[in-house]
Amino acid sequence: MRRALGILAGRRVLVVDADAARAGVVAATLAEVGAAIEIASDIHQALDLLEEADPAFTGALIAARLADADGVVLARAVRTSPLLYDLRLVILSAGVPPEGFDVACGWPATAASLAAAFLDPPPAKDTAPHEAAPVLDLSELESIAGGLTLELTAMLRRFADQAPKMAAEAMAAASAMDVTAAKGHAHALKGAAFSAGATRLGQAAKSFEAAAAKADWITASSINLPREASDLAEAIRGLPAPAS
């Protein structure tokens, strides 16, 4: 597919890449199809430019790896910035766009593929079933805490005690077809579960919350939150003793 010259005229795009040579090539290619381009190499420089731009940027092309972090961190920061809510985010990488990105554009990129990334509607996102997620993923918390510490273990045990009650409250609210209560209980369970690294329970609660919000009680009742909470408790009981 050949894109006409100037098809991105009027659009302002920020290229964010730690690789200056590649950023230059991408910027020149985007300029060929009419976009006005600026370049940043790290997250803070990118956020400064994006949040202070006048006129605002219409999109950003972000490399998977930046000077100070990876592109997903920048995408999350953009998605939660009050000033950047509608920014089109394209990751310079082949495959399925990660969380926060609208589309992916493989490298090497052509003028046509770059233009398409900023013009074509984003593909529908896959929604993986919660069963695919790990019951417990402590990699991030362990890396920060310095291993499976007493504090981390105590946190997990407290949550293992609380989770079954929270799951039961959500299920009871769904049985009563109480949208507000079912959403609220599932929302609380989701936040706590994800914070504790209980990824599968968090995903299940997220799906439950979405179903409850639509009063879709058939879907909600098919999500067995108590079983997920029980599986989590078992996984926590099976953890090795913490380092003292």
Binding site: I43, H44, L47, A69, D70, V73, R76, A77, R79, T80, S81, P82, Y85, E140, L141, S143, I144, A145, E151, L152, M155, R158, F159, Q162, G184, H187, A188, K190, G191, A192, A193, F194, S195, A196, G202
Partner: protein
């Protein structure tokens, strides 16, 4: 609910952060992450009313706050803090939430927050948002602890 960490040599070591969330597990995880960033003192509160007491007693340098809490939610607490910020001191405040709908984001901007942390909060997100929220605050000054 205050603790001091033994972390030293970090840019935030003389600073106090207040975590406000009604979920104990969320506060626990946030505390572990914030200690990893090197905050010298970490305070906690389970709702906006308890947070007001902590704010009055300790005047934290950074507040990380949930939105949905009873009896005082995050919006009301932030308004209360902003009314008490004076003399050029503006406490950096981050909302920690999974509500990223446009209307919530815009309302948060109106009440004067300095950024969002989307749950589940990761160490990288936290580092970026804390650094940006505290830019212009007295990060490089030695605050008496």
């Amino acid at each position: 609910m205050a603790e001091r960490s033994a972390t030293s040599g970090d840019r935030y070591k003389n600073f106090t952060v207040l975590i406000v969330d009604d979920q104990e597990t969320v506060r626990d995880a946030a505390r572990i992450l914030l200690r990893g960033l090197g905050f010298g003192a970490i305070l906690e509160a389970a709702n906006g009313e308890a947070a007001k007491e902590q704010f009055t007693a300790h005047v934290p340098d950074l507040i990380i706050c949930d939105i949905n809490m009873a009896p005082t939610n995050g919006f009301a607490f932030v308004k209360w803090v902003r009314q008490r910020n004076s003399g050029g001191l503006r406490t950096p405040i981050l909302f920690m939430t999974s509500h990223t709908e446009r209307e919530v984001v815009m309302k948060a901007k109106d009440v004067g927050i300095d950024g969002f942390l989307v749950k589940p909060v990761g160490a990288a997100d936290l580092s970026v948002r804390v650094e940006r929220a505290m830019r212009g605050y007295k990060v490089d000054a030695a605050r008496p602890s």
